[in-house]
């Protein structure tokens, strides 16, 4: 028996009820449905309030624009307090923006900068001290300095000690400058600002490349800072023909993208085309060079990389001196080189630091590895399934014995091994560094031993797939090796359907695709066997000694084909 006291409507109390009853029976407004409804109404009100607040903010911003051009948020006035209010409205809720007001003689001045992006000691030394010290009553030059405060140009020339000062009248430009890490100086009475270069932020030091290690040769690699990356190129070439054109990409991020080229070498029209394609990119943000890559290539659906990526400044410089164009993206250490052909993807930095004959042999083996990486599993499936007669009798018998122990057809076996291999590769890439060793061990153990012992896969296929994997790892370009991995599966399907005939058709289809691919007008594979470009073989199929590499590759159409006085022979990789 339950005795429950429930406050009823009008404060009445019901006693000695025999069972639990709903509160809403006596207080309808306490029902769950009504409560939910009320809650939704409250949420609507909150949302509407937020939208209303935003709209009011926008109206205020529009009112503040007053006579500003359509592409400017506002116009600077000669009243500092008004300018400060406008800037504060723009940087509303940006608590990392510092507004530093100070006296510059008999006027108020304002320094605006982004905390963490600006070198404050530089500002103290070259701006604050200069302005506050030179215009203090105890300073003998105060009168002259005060006179100078009527003109921002004079201030920048006579008072400010900063290395780079730019006088700007446009609000948009100044806001962008602040967001880039520069400081903005405003002085009461002047309707213009000074953008003071004092960028200093946390960044990674120049280190060795992560993915393009060279046994011999320079170990410097690009980092995430565009200016450092350009400096790494500039430091290696004191050449005024080496040009840098900086563009902004990303409607919101306004990321800096530098286009580098050697003016008297690059193929006419190539730089303009690169700039045009970059200029056409419509995107809110640009966080890495891969995004640019996908926008500027001719065939974005192809698995094969149509731009060359590099972490090495020496490689980029060598490519620039072949008449190619470099693209450096702020915030990413992997930069882009165009045009890109099969030949340049097959070149590695070490090719130029070892003996030419050895380098030539390695290049040959690299090309053979590329072939094996795509076609070996398909050839295995085709021969085992359709053409065992092509094998020597003893080998055919031993393969038949091995295959008799496994329950699956060779195609399924191969697909299973491919999937297993891909999973292990993905796991090794994604795992923390300390666990990759363990994952590799497990992978090797599973692939190499357990699946064979379990009778799932025959050992010869393990050898084939392992050879394929190692072949794809030997590619100098990671993206190219990924493409090789991707093309293995359709080849396996063709081999399982039409045997060696299918493999040959697959080879032809891939050859057609590679010959039809173009990177900024240059054929991807076609240049390799073009009779008019056979002279390029000296640094593509083979690598001749440096003193014989007197000419630049013809396929990139450099204006000046002769490498005058160029004795290092380093090419596009």
């Amino acid at each position: 028996m339950w005795k429950i006291l429930i406050a009823g409507k009008g404060g009445s109390v019901i006693k000695n009820k025999k069972c639990i009853q709903k509160l809403s029976k006596y207080m309808p407004e306490a029902s769950l449905a009504i409560a939910k409804k009320k809650l939704e109404q409250l949420q609507d009100i909150i949302t509407q309030s937020a939208e209303f607040g935003e709209e009011i903010g926008q109206i205020i911003a529009q009112l503040r624009k007053v006579a500003a051009p359509s592409n400017e948020p506002f116009l600077f006035t000669s009243v500092l307090t008004e300018n400060e209010a406008l800037l504060r409205a723009v940087f509303r809720d940006c608590e990392d923006i510092e507004f530093r007001t100070f006296d510059a003689g008999n006027r108020k001045a304002l320094l605006v900068y982004l905390k963490g992006m600006c070198d404050t000691s530089n500002l103290e030394r070259n701006v604050l001290k200069s302005l506050m010290g030179q215009t203090s009553p105890t300073n003998a030059n105060t009168v002259n300095a005060l006179n100078g405060l009527n003109d921002m140009k004079a201030i920048s020339e006579q008072i400010l000690g900063s290395a780079s000062v730019r006088i700007v009248k446009k609000a948009n430009t100044l806001i962008e400058a602040i967001m880039a890490g520069n400081a903005l100086l405003l002085i009461d009475g002047l309707a213009e600002g000074a953008s003071i270069a004092a960028v200093k932020h946390v960044k990674r030091d120049i280190s060795a490349p992560y993915n393009e290690y060279a046994l011999q040769g320079p170990d410097e690699a690009f980092n995430e800072e565009i200016n450092d990356n350009i400096a790494l190129i500039r430091r290696r070439a004191r050449d005024t023909n080496l040009k840098v054109h900086i563009m902004r990409v990303g409607e919101r991020t306004k990321t800096s993208v530098a286009v580098l080229y050697v003016a008297n070498l690059v193929k006419p029209g190539l730089v303009e085309e690169v700039k045009r394609r970059i200029g056409l990119i419509k995107k809110d943000k640009l966080l890495n060079s891969a995004t640019i890559d996908q926008f500027i290539v001719d065939h974005p659906w192809s698995p094969f990389p149509q731009t060359q990526t590099t972490e090495r400044p020496d490689k980029m410089l060598a490519a620039l001196y072949e008449g190619r164009v470099g693209i450096i993206v702020d915030g990413t250490p992997v930069e882009i080189l165009v045009p890109c052909t099969y030949n340049v993807l097959m070149q590695a930095p070490d090719d130029y630091t070892m003996q030419p004959i050895v380098a030539s042999l390695i290049r040959f083996s690299r090309n053979a590895a590329a072939f094996l990486a795509i076609y070996l599993p398909a050839i295995y499936v085709a021969v085992v399934s359709y053409h065992p007669g092509m094998l020597p009798t003893t080998m055919a018998i031993s393969i038949a014995e091995l295959r008799a122990r496994t329950p699956f057809p060779s195609f399924l076996e191969a697909i299973m091994m491919e999937i297993l291999l891909e999973l292990i590769q993905e796991a090794i890439i994604r795992l923390p560094l300390k666990l990759t060793g363990a994952a590799s061990m497990i992978g090797a153990f599973i692939i190499g031993n357990t699946v064979v012992q379990a009778g799932l896969i025959n050992p010869l296929l393990v050898v084939v797939i392992a050879t394929t994997a190692i072949s794809s790892y030997s590619m100098p370009s990671y993206h190219f090796s990924m493409a090789l991995r991707w093309t293995r599966v359709p080849m396996l399907i063709l081999a399982s359907m039409l045997g060696l005939y299918g493999v040959i058709l697959g080879v032809l289809a891939i050859t057609i695709h590679l010959c039809s691919l173009r990177s900024f007008g240059e054929s991807y594979l076609g240049g390799m066997f073009n009779v008019d470009l056979l002279s390029d073989w000296k640094d593509s199929v083979v690598r001749l000694p440096a003193k014989l590499l007197k000419e630049r590759p013809k396929e990139f159409g450099a204006q000046d084909q002769i490498r005058i006085g160029d004795s290092d022979g380093q090419s596009g990789s």
Binding site: G269, L498, Y501, I504, L508, C515, G521, L525, F529
Partner: protein, 372 residues
């Protein structure tokens, strides 16, 4: 500027390679039997004679094409022969490619099913290759030209290397008598090698891309190199077949070249069943010819109907080619079509082209007279 690559020209060496790869095609495996049956021990002389004959036909075509440097035969044929005559010439020209293409598809389907997939219908083999050829033919000429050069260096070197292995079984006495008695058969054989050399007609379409690069004299010399290589390759095939199988043996086999290579054994090596390796190298060679000819057919249609894109025509021709190749359903029909194509080709090269040159000469003379 979507494409920086200059594709509006080709070098004379590239033209020579294109003529070479377009001509070789499937006939190195398909044609030797009929040639040996006709010319017997003099087949090698027929090959050389054919080379000279068709080289001279090519030279005539180059001279004719040089008269209309920026045009192909599709454009200048109506001016020479009138509207109806010109249309007939264009149809004749395209029919040559079409008939060759369907015969090659048929022959290739037979060989592949016979030696690689005995339980697979030839249609499956034909459709698969037709799809790849169509994919190639819908590309631009720059791409096709590169593919042809790629195959010239890769596929032909493998093909010749594998074929040369059959020298191991060569019995020089089988070649005797080297000098034949039946001159008429040899001459007839020379004309019948048209099937082997056919494809050189493409110069009538490609000349506008190359004429600015070189003088006519140099072009004729370079083309002589191409025909020299063709003759050498066919000579190698014919001599080895007779040397291994004898004339009587080769006459009774449908594809003697494959029997020759099948009989080769390389003891102590990994390689067995060499005919499979030869076929693997031969498929790209056949593909090269077919893709080029399909492209030429598309180009002829495109130019004749004054359109800007050849691709719809190639796609339109695909089912027609497939049906055409399946209509050649037995060896008799195939041989009849082959003979018809040969006469069509011979009359095109040795009647129509000289006639065109005469007309050009006459029109020029007439124009000169009119000017006073």
């Amino acid at each position: 500027m979507a494409n920086l690559e200059a594709k509006s020209y080709m070098s004379p060496w590239q033209l020579a390679i294109v003529v070479f790869v377009t001509s070789v095609g499937a006939q190195i495996l398909l044609s030797p039997r009929s040639l040996i049956a006709n010319a017997e021990h003099g087949a090698w002389i027929s090959v050389l004679l054919g080379g000279m004959l068709f080289y001279s036909a090519t030279c005539l075509m180059l001279v004719l094409a040089k008269e209309y440097p920026d045009e192909t035969i599709v454009e200048y044929a109506p001016r020479l022969f009138g509207k109806v005559g010109g249309n007939l010439v264009v149809i004749w020209f395209n029919l040559l490619f079409f008939l060759q293409v369907i015969q090659i598809f048929y022959g290739m389907g037979k060989i592949i099913t016979f030696y690689m997939f005995d339980r697979t219908p030839p249609e499956v083999v034909i459709v698969a290759l037709l799809a790849v050829c169509a994919y190639c033919a819908v590309q631009d000429w720059g791409t096709i030209m590169r593919i042809q050069q790629f195959m010239f260096f890769v596929a032909y070197s493998i093909l010749i290397l594998v074929w040369l292995a059959s020298i191991l079984n060569l019995q020089p006495e089988n070649l005797l008598p080297i000098w034949p008695v039946n001159t008429k058969a040899v001459v007839n054989g020379g004309f019948s090698t048209w099937n082997m050399y056919a494809g050189y007609e493409c110069v009538l379409l490609l000349m506008p891309l190359v004429y600015r690069q070189v003088s006519l004299g140099s072009l004729i010399k370079i083309m002589g190199g191409a025909f020299g290589c063709l003759s050498l390759l066919f000579l190698l095939v014919i001599v080895i077949i007779i040397g291994v199988l004898t004339v009587e043996g080769a006459k009774n086999l449908l594809y003697p070249a494959l029997i020759v290579i099948r009989s080769v054994e390389l003891p102590g090596t990994f390689i067995e069943r060499l005919e499979n390796y030869l076929l693997i190298a031969w498929i790209p060679v056949v593909f090269d010819t077919l893709a080029a000819m399909m492209f030429f057919m598309g180009q002829v249609c495109m130019r004749h109907w004054r359109q800007a894109d050849h691709r719809p025509w190639v796609l339109f021709l695909v089912p027609i080619i497939y049906v055409g190749s399946t209509l050649l359903d037995n060896q008799q029909v195939y041989e009849m079509t082959s003979k018809f194509t040969m006469w069509l080709g011979l009359s095109f090269s040795f009647i129509l082209i000289p006639l065109s040159l005469l007309l050009v000469w006459w029109q020029k003379r007439k124009a000169g007279t009119g000017c006073g």
